[in-house]
Symmetry: C2
Subunit: 685 residues, 2 copies
Amino acid sequence: QLRGKHDERSLVFADLTREEYLQVQQYMLKQKDLDISVNQITKPSKNFLFLIDLSLPRKADALAYLDGKGAKPDREATVVVFHGAQGYIKEYVVGPLPKPAYHRDVTFERYKMNLPITARTVTIGEYHLLFQFLEDEVFSKLKKLMKESFDVSQDKKLNAFEQMPRGVQSGDRKTWVSFFRDMSGMYIHPVGFEVLVNHESVNASDWRVMQLFYNGEYFYTVEELKEKYERGSVKKIVFKELPDYGSLKPKHKALQISPQLFYAEGKRFSVSNNQVLYLDWSFAFGLSSLTGMRVFDVHFKGERIAYELSVQEAMSVYGSLTPGMMLTKFLDSSIGIGRFAHELVRGVDCPHEATYVDTYRYIDVPAPVRFRNSICIFEHNMGQPLRRHFSDFFHNSYGGMVNSALVFRTITAIGNYDYMWDFIFYQSGSVEAKVHATGYISSSYLVKGSLRHGHQVAEGVLGNIHTHFINFKVDLDVLGVKNVFQTKDMEYINMSLPWMPDHYAIIPQLVEKQLKTEQMDYIWALGSLEAALRYDTKTPRYLHIASNKTNRWGHQRSYRLQVFSFTGDHLPENQAEERAMSWARYKVAITKHKDLEQTSSSLYSQNNIWTPAVDFSKYIEDNESIEDEDLIAWVTTGFLHIPHSEDIPNTVTVGNGGGVLLRPHNYFDEDPSIHSPDGVFIGPG
Amino acid sequence: QLRGKHDERSLVFADLTREEYLQVQQYMLKQKDLDISVNQITKPSKNFLFLIDLSLPRKADALAYLDGKGAKPDREATVVVFHGAQGYIKEYVVGPLPKPAYHRDVTFERYKMNLPITARTVTIGEYHLLFQFLEDEVFSKLKKLMKESFDVSQDKKLNAFEQMPRGVQSGDRKTWVSFFRDMSGMYIHPVGFEVLVNHESVNASDWRVMQLFYNGEYFYTVEELKEKYERGSVKKIVFKELPDYGSLKPKHKALQISPQLFYAEGKRFSVSNNQVLYLDWSFAFGLSSLTGMRVFDVHFKGERIAYELSVQEAMSVYGSLTPGMMLTKFLDSSIGIGRFAHELVRGVDCPHEATYVDTYRYIDVPAPVRFRNSICIFEHNMGQPLRRHFSDFFHNSYGGMVNSALVFRTITAIGNYDYMWDFIFYQSGSVEAKVHATGYISSSYLVKGSLRHGHQVAEGVLGNIHTHFINFKVDLDVLGVKNVFQTKDMEYINMSLPWMPDHYAIIPQLVEKQLKTEQMDYIWALGSLEAALRYDTKTPRYLHIASNKTNRWGHQRSYRLQVFSFTGDHLPENQAEERAMSWARYKVAITKHKDLEQTSSSLYSQNNIWTPAVDFSKYIEDNESIEDEDLIAWVTTGFLHIPHSEDIPNTVTVGNGGGVLLRPHNYFDEDPSIHSPDGVFIGPG
Ligand SMILES: [Ca+2]
Ligand SMILES: [Ca+2]
Ligand SMILES: [Ca+2]
Ligand SMILES: [Ca+2]
Ligand SMILES: [Cu+2]
Ligand SMILES: [Cu+2]
């Protein structure tokens, strides 16, 4: 049933192989002047090879190669080194693989700034020191309190969960570390103890406890807390056993298994290397350790629909009275979204019969790691017809077709939350990018006044209000890279009825606009359209990436972006942290493609949130023309999360998600699913 | 695996049986003074028994009975008689079944007005006369034109499709009838010929052709058109064969069938009479000929969650230059939504293994009709986990559960469109009501200027811009009928950081409101909240029906309504037709329950749209208290439809829908799915 053949050119987008990671690692280790370590517990004061990931080819080069008009681009890797010895971070491009011969510092080219060492992600090496520091400087000095309040002993510890950003200004690396019971789902077992550690220095010997938070009160030193605790002048937390409400262990045994999917006549899709073929679809795929899942060179019926469709960022802003979570703004790609794409469980995360693919990654490790079955691909019966019509007027007939579509999935468990990422390929020529959240909420210890920031969800536990904002990059190429951005909507107009001209009626009409530049400061027919697609303004209902080429009926061929979103309010722009998440201002932002504007966020955004390496708003600040250009749509979706008791133990996926559907609109001359072999027709008689 | 037992009390909501329809019919025929006919081609000037349908019991009576505190309510039928002889419409309640002994005129009680005969739905009897009228007064007089322009001959006719409303003021019954090729999917084969017929009188002999529309020009009489056509002073349409682009016949044969669902260990749900049991769920169901699918007495884990969840209305407003469609505003429940719930096709409309249920209806027929397999019920693997968490920090474990849910479905093919209606019951305690549109778009003949109202989708065919507004009735009863309506949202506040009081930050906080009366004229913290839930104002993000009873953590137990909607603009309120669709002003409107406010629309709205029998806005005009009352939520969803070439031959369901998800929010003390036997846990090692 496959319409096409696999093509090795897809490998241009393939993640690095285990061998390639090792080639790059060895090459870097040979650069003696760089003095790099790959030891996993390298100290922050040394130079640590943090990340190796595919460096994507320039789009023009890749397209030339894919379209048979150019040579295969050199295969290159991006290498991130935390130069603790020098106090900065560098990004290098290393190539060509498989025999690296050069490395090039691309930091300034990519970010137009130097990256201070304080902008780095906390490594396992730094955690190692941090936990030791907390043990030495806090726990060992508060044994009595720890025992009485939290039942901490030689064999029983608390678990730490850090809040981010780490401070209030550039250079800060002052982290509130919150403590949780060492139970399943620790994230919903906060104990009411938090410690502010200054770990700005790459030398752990300079680190200091700055403040402590215990049962709603602040203390400047461990000694102050200890002294007041022993004197009895603080309100004590008295340890109490709690039920294991975070447990995910089933409480009942299945008597009958749930409905299962099966491929009675085999799979109708094929996966070879990093390429998937499915009926009329083909695409290449990869998984970036930082940004996560992505597909490239998406073809439908022989035409390229999209060059790239990728996850960019997952961001959350929390509200709380407790100190750590009060400032919390998570930017997951700075920790690594794809990094946490772990093994998918057959029959739960994906159907039993899905095809599972292994991935290899190199991030904060001494050697590349294989992640077994971390991508799944399956065709699914979506449980409804894709289209159908029953006619009982004049003609008695039925025509229809089941909605059977291909799902490409990863699930990334980034600490407490699990994000499920789906790209879905429909037989009607649509592609959908979806995200759903599940896993544990992030919670805080209930103190007086806490309820202004959420609901109590367990004994002494507040489920904190927070936003989920997710950014996708959608690089549609509609019949080539030269496209325009159009909006369509309705407007009521007052018309006289031609057959009784004295009578007027209000009639819907179609309003179409073509936007000229990235800032889109136009007057929309229905009101002012300052950057129309901001979340806080009225957005036209239909958004299109269109070609100037027309379909059979003279209409511009286009793909429409339909955004499904339940976002909360975006952080006000006067906040210093906002620039690192400025993509979230826009439901859809359109930019002119640039190879140097590869992502809307960066690895360095979380820990230098005040001076981010990537400030998305700058992509549109130059207000370039978006007419007949290669356009990128940056789509923001998400939802406001007001946690409630049913978030215990886990948030459910139903209703907790968002996405964008890319749909052909005057692209074809008719619905392409009419050519699907899944069509069914029942005639009269 | 079933948790409960079937209970015959559900029958209180059951549709009338074939025998009951006949009992009512016979009873009515015995009332000689009413002089009723049941002949299907009864003339409009006679009295015609149009409809027999279940008359729902008063809610208080039904609840008393269901809860074992009252007798079984009398079983009664609603009977609609079109009294052509008297010039009015009457609604009667007939009871008690099975041996009817009384009938009661409830017209005024229900509608506070008399119903003029012009408000009636066009019956098969009237169509019979109308088609004959058109044949005699139009087609037979225009043979040459008909042959040359449309290839009409003895054996080859055009098909008619009427536009509604039928005129511009109360009493009007002046219908533009548009003609279409007699081909599959006639709705997308308009020929450019429309006739305005005045059929106000119940006597067909009074009917007149008022105007004609041919190839963009208007004519007052058939003779004028004929004369000008023959004289050559009109621009002629010359018949041309067209490809059968409306055909739904597959063009390819399947080589491999698509993925199938199977119940390896049998069905986990049971259907008996009109009751469904599924894991922790139970509900009664029915199908009104007018409003369509509905469920009652929805229980989850032994508690009643909702008394009623039902389809109310499907409305569309069209834009066009051609006369019929220019005014078109369809109100489908006036024709009958449930009426068109035809047989579902196994393997396309629902999975092969679904349970299919027959329904019986009596509407515009001489005897009750059985609709085989017109409801389907199945459990579906939704293709994703309901929840899951993988932990690799501190604890290595996995817990998850597939999202397997019960779907209750009908599909109603109302002329051109097929609406797919789904109620979905999730193991997390959520219920979802969803609608998707498929089938043929309604189209018009392309004339100069047409493109202001849509896109060309085939040769000479305009796909007209239109809205889809769908209304659901959601009668949640959260721990009894006394509930309140709450909203929750976020708001940013400026707070000083307790550990560094000189520093301020903007932090999300939770804002909760309890609305007091139906009109909800409150000031919302984020701005003016005039009837907050109007589509054109900022609506709080979380909407709740709540009890004053609290969960374990002291929060009011509630169900949240999450609306999925892509509606266009609602018709302005200054339009005379708007009052018949005033429910569409509100995304969610909350009213105090009244037995006499059973539906948001009525059978008489379409044909007396200017003086509708039900004007929903009156339900809230009295602005009653909604605190500690039995609350009904009326939810409007839908989408703006700008047709495009891919709507040919059929609109696809993907992206063309809307719905409302009812989710527990602090209702339980934890996620109820934790007790599902479908849970999976994988421990370390
Ligand atoms: Ca730019
Ligand atoms: Ca592009
Ligand atoms: Ca009222
Ligand atoms: Ca209620
Ligand atoms: Cu959340
Ligand atoms: Cu439509």
